[in-house]
Amino acid sequence: MKTFKIDWLVLPLIGVACVLVAWSVSSATWAKELPSPLKTWEASKPYIVEPFAKRGEMDQGILRFTWYSLTLVAQGYAISLLIGTPIGFFLGLSKTFTKIFDPIIQILRPVSPLAWLPLGLVLFMSAGKEAGTYGALFTIAICSMWPTVLNTAVGVRAVPQDYLNVGKVLKLSRWKTLTKILVPATLPYMFTGFRLSLGIAWLVIVAAEMLTGRPGVGGFLWQEYNSLIYEHIILSIITIGVIGFILDRLMSLVEARFKAIS
């Protein structure tokens, strides 16, 4: 019991302390513009103590900003799963499909969100005021889709021949083979993809908000940089990290559940 607490509480706290020391030393010596931990806390306090306050468009509690960001991520992420999962199935099932589309996927996959966003804005220019939202959604969807696509494809290819033989012997229809054998057998892989995709979707949101100036954690970060309030940059970074961590943990829990079944 005692070692258990040391493992998950004390040791990680030592890590946090190390970073705090390095941060304090840096701000006191070579990086004079970097606010110290204490100054950061003081400047951030109103945003943390009243996390849902709304004092103005770009002056809101940190959790309120987080909420805006999360809603946008959720929409973009949903689009990416809805498009990415079927593509993954086609890639896994058809060699021809793989030969046609795999090269282009491999080329599009490493493109940075910063490169996609301007294209997204151009694509939805006709949407006027909503162009920023649509462009951001486009960017989140296209950047976060690839882990889902590739993991699903790997999962479909890894379905044991034995299970497929069961389907063949029973002469299951294509639809039944898909829903009763392929999808359940692929689920653990799909969820690994979903988890990685969510991580990327959360990464992209910040870039998208910074460039479009939408209210949210990323938009806040960029605005405070322009207003020279550097403490809030650090507040935003910590928030982004913590939220990303929580999302990943939640997805891991779901993923573990599906791994346990099959």
């Binding site: 034995d162 069961v166 002469k171 054998i181």
Partner: protein, 272 residues
């Protein structure tokens, strides 16, 4: 009596990096309705390939398989297959695994009737108490029981069993052999079992087909097993005929299995 299953001039060739490899060649076998055939041979001789072709899971290179007057062109629920690994879908319970097949075959029956069919076979194989458990909660032997129930519940024309008890300990194996014989007798099925276990072949089968070693494996010899049914292990053990047949099988597997029939080699070559 006319042949229910007719395997004629069967050839199977697999492509390999070193060129095509003929695993089975000129394999001929006729099986009467209701007959229990055991196909025995060394591991890797191609006996499972023959079964897989009869099941329609592997394509035939040359020759053909005719079941009840129709050529086998693909897999289908008219042949119940029991694999070496039970191949249950891990995300379904034993009952749901059986139902998957029952729903396919008895699509005109009512939901209640279909449930009853699945429950009936699961109970006979001894899974009455644990039919709603997932495969991960069942022992290896119980999983194979479920595999057998699934095959019989399809009400197939023919049963094809690919070393179904190969992975079980001998006590469980004996139990399941009895379960299999019991079901086979109730439903009056035609059955083909692939095995490398001499005692299993003699206990279950009406005829034991001995295969020569691959490549180009074929039927080496066929042994009639005329013990009365229902058989008991004890009765067989006390019959001197049993040991004569056993001797015959073992001699074939040890000394003659590498010889293709028709080109009876000289003793010198046989001991090469």
């Amino acid at each position: 009596m006319s042949k229910f299953l007719e395997i004629s001039q069967l050839v199977k060739t697999f492509p390999t990096p070193k060129g095509p490899l003929t695993v089975v060649r000129d394999f001929n076998l006729g099986v009467k309705k209701g007959e229990f055939i055991a196909l025995i041979g060394h591991s890797g001789c191609g006996k499972s390939t023959v079964l897989s072709m009869a099941a329609g899971l592997t394509d035939v290179t040359e020759g053909g398989v005719i079941l009840a007057g129709k050529e086998v062109t693909g897999a289908g629920p008219d042949r119940g297959v029991v694999f070496q690994a039970p191949c249950l879908l891990p995300w379904y319970t034993a009952f749901e695994n059986v139902m998957l097949g029952v729903d396919q075959v008895y699509y005109t029956a009512s939901a209640v009737e279909r449930r009853q069919i699945a429950e009936y076979y699961l109970t006979i194989v001894g899974l009455g108490e644990s039919m709603h458990k997932r495969p991960s909660e069942l022992s290896q032997g119980m999983r194979q029981r479920c595999g057998i129930a699934r095959a019989f519940a399809l009400s197939p024309k023919m049963l094809l069993l690919d070393e179904p008890f190969g992975m079980l300990d001998s006590l469980t194996k004996f139990e399941l052999q009895d379960v299999l014989l019991d079901l086979w007798q109730r439903d009056q099925k035609t059955a083909l079992i692939v095995t490398h276990d001499v005692d299993e072949a003699l206990y279950l089968a009406d005829r034991v087909v001995m295969m020569t070693d691959g490549p180009e494996a074929t039927v080496g010899d066929i042994l009639e097993v005329n013990f009365p049914r229902p058989r008991t292990r004890k009765q067989l053990m006390e019959d001197p005929e049993y040991y004569r047949l056993r001797e015959h099988l073992i001699t074939f597997l040890n000394e003659r299995s590498h010889l293709r029939p028709g080109k009876e080699a000289s003793p010198a070559l046989a001991h090469h």
